[in-house]
Symmetry: C2
Subunit: 275 residues, 2 copies
């Protein structure tokens, strides 16, 4: 089963476009967990068990595990074992390098950790993304328009590319990804904080899965993300929230609070999405 098939199945089964970013920060964990030896794993496990019937995907961000050194990556491996096999996993890694190096990153993320999909940087061009795209069962979500203020610095620059009118770099990236997508396993990352750009990109790429971070702590609007990010069938949007779910409360009931927030995000997205 490809990433896209797995995503659509999980999304339909759980009636959900919501993805939880599993980005644990030791300092923000509930006090009763913080000093346990396997605090990260215990935290992730509780979050997963409380929310597995409410999400379309889980998205661990590699940075939060790498910050803890090799032990953090062992916690990541163990976390992935607790995610039910019918829910797709997205490794938010934002890798991208020359082909020989990208091949090693692909090995790490797909073979060693076993993610169903990953996020990738576009800046080095097609041959830097190709080693990832060769994993035809996996999803390759290419960073297009990000949710941060600095996204404007380069992604909004107008580029000349032989057309009558210059277009923003992020749009040019989206159009290139469509050309690269010969195996049907590419997708895009577009932040929820710029709904107009999201709408525009969905028009350009009607069939690609779009990962949409930035809902919650970063202030992106959930209803716009669901309305403009989904395809004509109301699918293929992966709306990701992290801090607003993980740290909804920090007492012993943190997992119940996380599930409540996830449920309300899910329901709001269901209401807003087409058709």
């Amino acid at each position: 089963m490809t990433f896209l098939e797995k995503l659509l199945t999980a999304s339909q089964r759980n009636h959900s476009l919501i993805c939880i970013g599993l980005d644990p920060e030791i300092e923000r964990l509930p006090a009763h967990l913080r000093d346990q030896p396997n605090s990260i794993l215990a935290f992730n496990r509780a979050i997963i068990e409380a929310t597995a019937d409410l999400v379309c995907a889980y998205k661990p961000n590699l940075a939060f595990y790498e910050a803890l050194g090799p032990a953090g990556l062992i916690a990541l491996q163990e976390t992935l074992r607790f995610i039910p096999s019918h829910i797709p996993t997205i490794g938010d890694a934002k890798r991208g390098d020359t082909d020989n190096t990208s091949r090693q990153y692909a090995r790490a993320l797909f073979d060693t950790y076993g993610f169903d999909a990953i996020t990738v940087h576009p800046y080095l061009g097609r041959d830097s993304v190709q080693p990832f795209l060769e994993y035809q069962e996996k999803g390759i979500l290419i960073v297009c328009r990000t949710s941060n203020p600095g996204a404007r610095d380069f992604q909004d620059r107008l580029v000349n590319q032989g057309q009558a009118h210059p277009i923003p770099l992020y749009e040019y990236v989206a159009r290139q990804v469509l050309e690269w997508n010969t195996a049907g396993n590419a997708g895009l990352v577009v932040g929820a904080t710029y709904p107009e750009e999201l709408q525009h990109i969905r028009q350009i790429a009607p069939d690609l899965p779009i990962l949409i971070p930035g809902v919650g702590a970063q202030g992106g609007d959930l209803a716009s993300a669901a309305r403009y990010g989904t395809d004509a069938a109301g699918e293929r949007a992966i709306i990701s929230a992290s801090r607003s779910i993980l740290y909804a409360s920090n007492g012993p009931g943190f997992a119940t609070s996380a599930a409540e927030v996830t449920r309300s995000l899910r329901d709001a997205a269901q209401q807003a999405r087409h058709p």
Copy 2:
């Protein structure tokens, strides 16, 4: 001591602009090492011991360690301990994400692994690079013009930015990095395979350290890299080679062969550089 001071000191002491990319691939290790439990570490250690008086820096590429899972990152930590403390280490990680995530990557690379410098992606803009730049003693080498064929796909796009003439995106990135460099700890990554672009960027950024990969297996010309990549004093170029050194021979004498190749690269670069 800042990264730049450490780099200049090591470069002057060893009369060298050469950096060795420590990118071990199990399948390419000498046969007598391949089946040892700590083969990567034994290999790296032998390379380091044979070349520590010939280089200005070592540059482990994270991908090659990550491909081996948590055990690979333990081998990386142990490798870093064998690098003499007066030789700077560059973590070739090409990270870059929204600020909260970049902060975790900075923690991983600077605090957990202790690299003196790292490579960073520009695509997410200033606020994505800022958490790295805040480590004022560390070097932040921002990817500008890469050595691969696909570099053309986006980096050569002409961007409009209110000037009379549009400029290529890579040049715009270089000019933005100059503005971001308030602490004097930024640098650029420019591939050796495009000497004209390297010369152009050196003119724009006369004082920035420039990491120049692509010599050797990727076909970049060493003399051009040394001539066009150095500053007015013949310094601040970090010319990186990996496969051509690491796998110069694969018998028991591999480290001696690696040192010989490094020495000839070093001498050729010394001849070509200004003044």
